[in-house]
Symmetry: C4
Subunit: 228 residues, 4 copies
């Protein structure tokens, strides 16, 4: 079925946005070589825009982006979609509130994932953004629905937009691709800070009621609305 | 009450300066996303210039800066002021010698803050800039006067221009915004160096009389006067 | 014996490629000053293109590259070849499938090399790229065939394109220079991530059958073929 | 006594060189704010060129450089000389073979200095450049000859061009300013690598005879002569 002009415009916009957001991954040193990816749901359609597989970040332009359906089948694009497409697609199928997904192997978040240890909520920034500890998802093989299922099962029991997939790395979600990228930047930052804090002692977790108040305020008051 | 032309000129200058100083936060890798802020007191007025809330660092220009009174009420600007405005305002109300305030979540300083542990004075650079250990302030909720009160109460008992707010991150002050930014850069640098030194042993603190001599010399002799 | 025009064209291409690939070493912070090098075999000839000795990375252009035979004797170029030329040449003589070799002293890989400890296969990325743990090679003096022999002996018993030469640093190989550079980037990344994971616990290694499946898939399915 | 035209030309050249070499300090992340300095001896004269005190690295041009005699007295320049001038001058007076001196507070080297622990010779790169462990100098107050004396006394008993001044940071020397900057880059690199190696075990030191052979070869064979 051909896309309407309005959908084509939306897809073109998202290709630009998603290509540009990969620049945040490199700028924040979350990825090396080709090992990370951003996708965005096409609102109202069973479609998503995602990074092509094995293409360098400095060659990622809107023209190299790939459009697939929500089972990862190629709909439009000159390249094969990211090898993590199945995981992104599974998340979009099962979490309708999610508009963007990001996967990286960022160093400190992946180190917590390698140990299978959640990041404890010992900083106001963690309460703000993650609403509690950052949870660990199961070990899952790459290539089928296992990773997607692990992400969805873990995030459903949490306020966190980030999950540390065991022996693998972080996946983050958001209401749009930019929010998911923000969560990817933040999870690496708190993973690093809490790691360093823990090297010389054990920081005390925040109290649940303080976490709740901080999280509520941050989600509802902070920012200029477009940036919440 | 409308501002005089002279005050308007001063405010415009400070907007330029404060916008530019945020570039030092990113250049020195003290902040990610929108999570840090610089403010400056408008000399002789009950006004301050501060970063808008939730705006990216690469979109911060003098035109996006916000002017508030010293209770954090918006006086001029297109955006809402930083969510840390109440803390900055409290400091200006209670420390008349302070002309600039900076807040970051820089990694190593925040790690010491997460453990609630002061940075010991084991380096000549710490004696020079901080005049002793870098102190820890109390845990305080975001949004009211608690943070400002914690900053002021802690800094009053210390020669340090930096305080590590528990489970949160560093705040620094200076006679102007540039000095406060310098202190923010320096506190992260010494937090990192002492952390690394401590990982493989326990560095010996400097003697109090050496700290006093180094601090006195640095505050009174070093630099070209405009850079003291 | 003079080179044919076709060989001269290939050599000129490789000089451009190898010069440009040194930019990846600096961009990925694998080298400082002049301490790392990339080479490429000239296909079908007993020749290789390699970095000159002791020349800064920002002065490396195609014109400064050096051509030697596979015993390290200078064939073409204005500069002396890298002091690691003998090791590169030994690898090309004994591993006909190798088209590119890289040597760095990248921080975390060199730290594992200093302890003589292989990097365990605790991440999907390690299974993908290295097919198991990253092995350690013997301590060998610089300047004769010892290093080359140590690299070849170690890599022959492994699926890994990287070897950690004891008390020295990593060497990587690939079917071309770009693949060897990719392996150099990846070995530093996993060396760093596993180091950090190990600082606060012991990550569990992947099962051999999962490693085999991941490695097979990555080597045969991932990427756009030109990037495999 | 006025300088001859030939000396003026040499001084102008050195001002350019020394200003540019400060760019290597920032590029290699050895310094923050204004906290590090490079100097060069004016060959055949009792003069040196050094960084001005408290001037930002991005404002350092040849015109801001300062010329002093070898007791640190200002001979030419619009700014006050670096507050470390006395230490540089002492080195030039007592080590006639030294043509360049560098001081930084680079993180890892300063961490070893904070513990007063020499960096053991566990890497071929340390044998190459430093000819053995990197030694620790005494704690000395800033402002008189104490630091210079500590540097000279320590370096005289060592092949190392670097000394870790206790609770302060590294000083390096070279036959010219570029060599001293190289040593400053290398000492931070090996300080970092050995620190990281030591975090998870104890790397075995090289044997003395291997250190001697590596050092001899590197000092006499490596590089294009201008870059030794």
């Amino acid at each position: 079925m051909p896309m309407s002009t309005a959908v084509l415009d939306t897809v073109a916009d998202l290709c630009r946005t998603v290509a540009a957001l990969h620049g945040e991954l490199t700028r924040n040193e979350l990825v090396i070589w080709t090992a990370g990816n951003v996708s965005a749901r096409v609102p109202g359609e069973d479609l998503m825009v995602i990074k092509p597989s094995g293409v360098s970040y400095d060659q990622l332009t809107e023209d190299t982006m790939v459009v697939t359906d929500l089972h990862g089948e190629l709909v439009h694009g000159r390249f094969a979609p990211s090898s993590d497409t199945a995981a992104h697609a599974y998340v979009y199928r099962h979490m309708p509130e999610v508009g963007g997904v990001v996967h990286t192997h960022s160093t400190f978040a992946t180190a917590w994932a390698a140990r299978g240890e959640p990041i404890p909520c010992v900083l106001t920034m963690i309460a703000d953004e993650f609403g509690g500890e950052v949870p660990v998802g199961p070990f899952a093989m790459i290539g089928d629905d296992s990773i997607g299922r692990g992400i969805v099962d873990t995030l459903r029991g949490s306020r966190s937009p980030a999950v540390l997939m065991r022996n693998h790395g972080p996946f983050t979600v958001g209401r749009d691709a930019r929010s998911a990228v923000k969560a990817a930047v933040m999870v690496e930052d708190v993973a690093r800070t809490v790691h360093i804090a823990r090297q010389l002692g054990t920081p005390e977790p925040l109290r649940q009621e303080d976490i709740d108040r901080l999280h509520d305020r941050y989600q509802n008051v902070y920012g200029q609305h477009q940036e919440r």
